[in-house]
């Protein structure tokens, strides 16, 4: 079976993933442009699944575009919008079209998005979705019925190393490990000391940890994330660095910071790879890689 990303993880390579976001509607040009730009520069590309509970073109559609363009796709799959039958069916379809990597997510809450009146399904959570995939791989659906043909996925999930309190988050992480998760893409990390402490815990388990890097584009953005985004902590020295950047160069500074962090994570072998989230600034991902001294 063609498990390209899994082979890379197993090889011990420091992997690089990035993400693209599908549009609101069917104007796919920008997403396709980002896919074209990045597919050869990273090891795999995530496609977000109605992130922040905002209805968009589907992750599956973006993943097919990546696959058709010869790239490696990571299907993000949340449990917010689909029941067991719909999730399993989408997994079968994804597999039939060559998609082998699945990031299992619970999904954001419905009220934070643009359909606050809609029902959040959450019949399963991320841990249960991992178990569900195991079952499909064993040849059975969740009803216990036999499947025709075999599937095999490379299963991913997420962890928030800066969660407060951390212990419940680590318990859930261990449940994901028990469920056979193969790679973890973390929520954005900025404090490398805190991250190193998390890695010390995570290293007990045989799972590849891919550190989440969200590009900072201004001091304002950094402060906003500290105040409003759960599980994100940007240390003051990074905020100062952005604030002190000459006018019009904050983005450049953000690229430099991201590149520097990635270089440290790579050179000190702190983790197994990085996942770059350059929200709305996907064009600069190659610049970040260059700043990190990484050629994929």
């Amino acid at each position: 079976m063609d498990l390209k990303f899994k082979s890379l993880l197993d090889s011990g390579k420091f992997v690089v993933t990035a993400e693209v976001a599908p549009p609101k509607g069917i104007e796919l040009e920008q997403m396709n442009h980002h896919i074209e730009l990045l597919k050869g520069k990273v090891d795999a590309l995530n496609v977000t699944d109605h992130q922040s509970s905002v209805m968009r073109f589907p992750s599956l559609g973006g993943c097919l575009a990546i696959k058709e363009g010869g790239g490696e796709a990571i299907l993000q799959m949340t449990c917010r919008d689909r029941n067991q039958i719909a999730l399993q069916s989408d997994l079968l379809f994804a597999y039939s079209r060559g998609i082998r990597n699945v990031l299992c997510l619970t999904g954001d809450a419905m009220p934070v998005g643009d359909h606050p009146q809609a029902r959040g399904v959450f019949e399963m959570d991320s841990v249960q979705l991992l178990h569900c995939i195991n079952r499909l791989e064993e040849g059975y659906d969740m009803g216990g019925n036999e499947l025709k043909g075999e599937v095999s996925f490379c299963k991913g999930a997420i962890v928030t190393p800066e969660a407060d309190p951390l212990e419940p988050q680590l318990s859930k992480f261990e449940k994901k490990v028990e469920a056979g998760v193969e790679f973890i893409q973390t929520q954005a990390i900025y404090d490398l000391d805190n991250f190193a402490a998390f890695m010390e815990h995570a290293r007990q388990f045989s799972v590849k940890i891919i550190a989440g890097i969200v590009l900072l584009t201004s001091a304002k953005m950094a402060r906003y994330m500290n105040n409003n985004v759960p599980g994100i902590f940007v240390p003051q020295h990074l905020i100062d660095e952005l604030a002190d950047a000459p006018k019009g160069t904050a983005l450049q500074k953000g690229i430099e910071i991201a590149g520097r962090m990635i270089a440290t994570l790579h050179n000190d072998a702190l983790c197994d790879g990085v996942h770059i989230m350059a929200i709305n600034k996907e064009e600069v991902v190659p610049d970040i890689l260059e700043a990190a001294g990484l050629q994929s």
């Binding site: 917010r80 067991q84 619970t106 999904g107 954001d108 809450a109 009220p111 934070v112 959040g120 959450f122 019949e123 399963m124 959570d125 991320s126 841990v127 249960q128 178990h131 969740m142 997420i158 928030t160 969660a163 407060d164 309190p165 212990e167 419940p168 988050q169 318990s171 859930k172 261990e174 449940k175 028990e178 469920a179 929520q187 759960p230 599980g231």
Partner: protein, 222 residues
């Protein structure tokens, strides 16, 4: 356990009463009285408001517990006022509305929206306590129900939205899994956080939900 209700907007109540001009009002002396949505005070206020809107109120009553079988006796007491009405406006939860519907033979209209089944944790503070899922896991979660206390009803731990022990959806509300973790730790069983819960059986008690007492089961009580 209390059935927690909220008064419907008056315009919606009037819309339901569109083809009624003679109304009998029923309140409830139990939950709706405690929640202050269908006690004597609220029923009297509704009566005045309807009269100001030109309705004829044929009578009113506050039934001790609108959802129980004694309701038939209460309605019998008001038989003539009920029969002379062409709409029964019920200021009780949906259980009371449906109980009234068994006895009156009239159009029964809810004045309240039923929000949840809850506990009064402290005076005036009501919290949803049970979703009646049919597969109770409180034994693993330190007596705190994640189905109702977690916005997403997750079973296996917090989502990424948990923020300093609060829920992403509402900073005033606690994250269920922070509460569960703290209580389990205090009980000396933090290991239970690692217990895997498979998805719930959504058909544990399929709708329409009915339980019929078997003869033996009844005998055990006697």
């Amino acid at each position: 356990m209390k059935s927690i209700t909220r008064l419907k907007p008056y315009a919606e109540i009037m819309q339901q009463l569109e083809d009624c001009n003679r109304v009998f009002i029923v309140g409830c002396g139990t939950c709706a009285t405690v929640v202050q949505t269908g006690g004597v005070e609220q029923v009297e206020a509704m009566k005045e408001q309807l009269q100001d809107s030109g309705m004829l109120v044929t009578g009113w009553t506050v039934i001790p517990t609108a959802c129980d079988e004694m309701t038939s006796a209460s309605t019998a007491e008001h038989e003539s006022a009920i029969q002379s009405a062409n709409g029964i406006l019920v200021m009780a939860c949906a259980l009371g509305v449906q109980r009234l519907n068994l006895y009156t033979g009239k159009r029964v209209l809810p004045a309240l929206d039923t929000l949840f089944m809850g506990l009064e944790e402290s005076p005036g503070y009501f919290v949803e306590a049970c979703d009646q899922c049919g597969e109770c896991i409180l034994g693993y979660t330190a007596g705190i129900c994640p189905v109702t206390a977690c916005h997403k009803g997750l079973l296996n731990g917090p989502c990424g939205g948990t923020n300093k022990g609060k829920c992403e959806v509402d900073q005033e509300k606690d994250c269920a899994f922070t509460l569960i973790y703290q209580k389990l730790r205090d009980l000396g069983r933090p290991d239970l956080m690692k217990h895997y819960h498979p998805p719930k059986n959504a058909q544990a008690c399929p709708r329409p939900k009915v339980k019929i007492l078997e003869a033996k089961e009844t005998e055990q009580w006697i």
